[in-house]
């Protein structure tokens, strides 16, 4: 279909070109044609087969190609049943109406189906790559929060099943979700992006510098300056974090909610004087934008064991923390420590005796 320029653009690209559909990636036909990727969608989408055909442009448009139109007519005959082919052929208007009403049902089914496939596609390797390109081009906009410095955001859903909520924007800088600024996105279902994509994206592209820059569209020299300034700023603000730490809880320290923490929390003032926490109208929500100056405070595993120095179940020093100084060991460690810790916690708390038996070796 895509080979000839005369042919109207594919259903997918015309769908993605619609107003309000700017966040969508174009799902590759290969992905859709693989039945495995569509597992379970049949029960969620009415007129599934027709919708799928529409997405893949198997059914051609009305007045395009004579040959294919005939094929389509045959299909329609089956549906229409008792109507005679010849008469119905001449009564072109009537046929048009019939098709139009059917089409609108199929069309909405196709949109639903495409959305659900899209939710899966953007967590696949090619899909997330495609979204990364859109992210880089700032197709999803920036965080409206002042202290996030126009950090680029991602579309996410708050629910994985359709019909609950519209699409929202996830900001990695403040780890919060926002309503898209333009009301045209309020017709887009959040489930078409899903709850997983936003976080999975930043776990996949952990090298991305999500800090957000004040002027993103300037030349290379400016960008360099901005980066240097940002790094300096980060250093100044977070000098409590030891410099040799490259990863905490699986995230580089400079990428863990860079829009939060000291200097990025609004401090209400009246005529220059801070409003007291004890005032009725005083600040109560600073915690939402807090972040420890020393990020290793978030290494809960280490802190847990530091509080219990003498304990038989204490793991090896090597397994002890979630902080990476060099790379590549985090995953294995997490599992071991996590499991032991939980077993121990429930053992102490008098939970099910099964746990302690299972892991064994609790003193």
């Amino acid at each position: 279909m895509s080979s000839s320029s005369q042919v109207t653009e594919s259903w997918i690209s015309s769908f993605c070109g619609l107003l309000g559909h700017e966040y969508f990636a174009e799902v590759s036909e290969d992905f859709i044609e693989d039945d495995f990727n569509l597992t379970g969608l049949q029960s969620q989408v009415p007129m599934y087969k027709e919708a799928l055909e529409m997405i893949l442009d198997v059914e051609p448009e009305d007045d395009e190609d004579e040959e294919e139109e005939e094929e389509e007519d045959e299909d329609d005959d089956e549906i229409l049943g008792d109507e005679k082919p010849s008469g119905y052929r001449r009564a072109n208007d009537r046929r048009h109406l019939r098709i139009a009403s059917d089409l609108s049902v199929i069309e909405s089914s196709a949109e639903l189906l495409y959305g659900l496939i899209h939710q899966r596609y953007i967590t696949s390797r090619p899909g997330i790559q495609q979204m990364a390109e859109k992210y880089e081009l700032q197709h999803f906009g920036t965080c409206p929060r002042v202290y996030c410095n126009s950090c680029k955001v991602l579309p996410v859903g708050l629910n994985d099943s359709p019909g609950h909520d519209t699409v929202k924007l996830f900001c990695p800088s403040c780890l919060d979700v926002y309503t898209p600024p333009n009301s045209r996105f309020q017709t887009v279902d959040g489930a078409f992006f899903g709850t997983t994509f936003g976080s999975l994206f930043f776990m996949t592209f952990s090298d991305l510098d999500i800090g957000g820059s004040r002027n993103s569209s300037t030349g290379a020299a400016d960008a360099l300056l901005a980066i240097q300034a940002a790094q300096q700023e980060v250093k100044n603000r977070r000098d409590a974090t030891p410099a040799h730490i490259t990863s905490i809880n699986g995230v580089a320290p400079h990428n863990l909610a860079p829009g939060l923490g000291p200097g990025n929390i609004y401090e209400p003032r009246i005529y220059g004087f801070r409003v007291s926490e004890r005032a009725r109208s005083g600040p109560r929500m600073k915690w939402l934008r807090m972040r420890p100056a020393d990020i290793t405070e978030l290494d809960e595993t280490r802190r847990y064991w530091e509080e219990r120095e003498e304990d038989g179940d204490r793991p090896d020093d090597d397994d002890l923390n979630m902080v990476d100084v060099q790379e590549g060991k985090a995953d294995r460690r997490k599992k071991i420590v996590g499991r032991r810790r939980r077993a121990n916690a429930s053992g102490n708390g008098g939970g099910s005796p099964m746990d302690t038996n299972g892991v064994g070796g609790v003193g």
């Binding site: 780890l175 976080s199 699986g250 009246i270 409003v275 004890r278 979630m322």
Partner: protein, 257 residues
């Protein structure tokens, strides 16, 4: 900004302030009373801030009758807008000004908080500095106590000093009933249903900080202002327990087999 001039040229004889308030992009401003503007005390110090101060003031108060060329007129027009903004910052912290801005706030004239969990809380305009030409206007959400950029670019160019750093805080001191209940709900990043560890550990740390603050307030016998505080605490705990139990049950199941 072009339509400013074309419009004023045609009907500048009508009330300047009416026109200014109703023109596109100036939705955040309220109308300053004539009496306030004509009281020189209220304008103390502004004569050094504004070029062509006297002409600009005449224009704002509709007594402008100075013959001049277009360039000059434009300059005065610009000064008049600047002057209006600076007086506006002072006016909106007066009793009458606060009342006017409160009405606009109730109508959500300044927009609604983009944060999903703030549930469309109306915003208030504010400046990050009281000095003119320092930074553009921002919007303050009283529910999450954070600042946001205006959606529209025509609002994003308004000087923040025209609203000032104090106004929005004063408004809630004067009208504490307008304070929205604070929410402890938050977004939890998840992957395939599992909470993301880095974000979750930060959230736990933040929740600790919040509990510390609530304890401080409790000791001082001050209401925290959180909605359904106790209920939600219990809910949270209940959820955690449930999850723990599920995980434990799963683990023991695995072990048994």
């Amino acid at each position: 900004m072009d339509d400013f001039n074309s419009e004023t040229d045609s009907d500048y004889t009508s009330y300047w302030r009416d026109w200014f308030i109703s023109s596109r992009g100036n939705e955040y401003f309220c109308e300053i009373d004539e009496e306030y503007l004509t009281d020189r005390f209220n304008l103390t110090g502004l004569n050094t801030e504004v070029q062509y101060y006297q002409h600009a003031l005449d224009l704002v108060t509709d007594v402008f009758d100075f013959d001049c060329d277009d360039d000059m007129r434009e300059a005065i027009e610009k000064s008049a807008r600047h002057l209006y903004g600076l007086v506006h910052a002072r006016y909106i912290v007066t009793t009458r000004g606060l009342a006017k801005m409160l009405e606009k706030f109730k109508k959500s004239d300044f927009g609604k908080c983009p944060r999903v969990l703030c549930e469309a809380q109306p915003l208030l305009p504010m400046g990050q500095s009281d000095v003119a030409n320092t930074s553009p206007v921002k919007l303050y959400c009283a529910r999450c106590e954070d600042l946001y950029n205006p959606k529209s670019s025509r609002h994003a160019i308004i000087d923040g000093a025209y609203f000032g750093t104090s106004f929005h805080n004063i408004l809630f001191q004067v009208y504490p009933a307008m304070l929205p209940p604070k929410s402890q709900r938050r977004y939890e990043p998840r992957v395939f249903g599992f909470r993301v560890h880095a974000a979750a550990s930060l959230a736990r740390w933040q929740a600790d900080e919040r509990e510390k603050m609530k304890e401080r307030l409790r000791v001082a016998r001050i209401e925290t202002g959180f909605e359904d505080e106790d209920e939600e605490d219990e809910d949270d705990l209940g959820e955690e327990d449930e999850e723990m139990e599920l995980a434990d049950a799963f683990e023991s199941a695995v072990v048994q087999h």
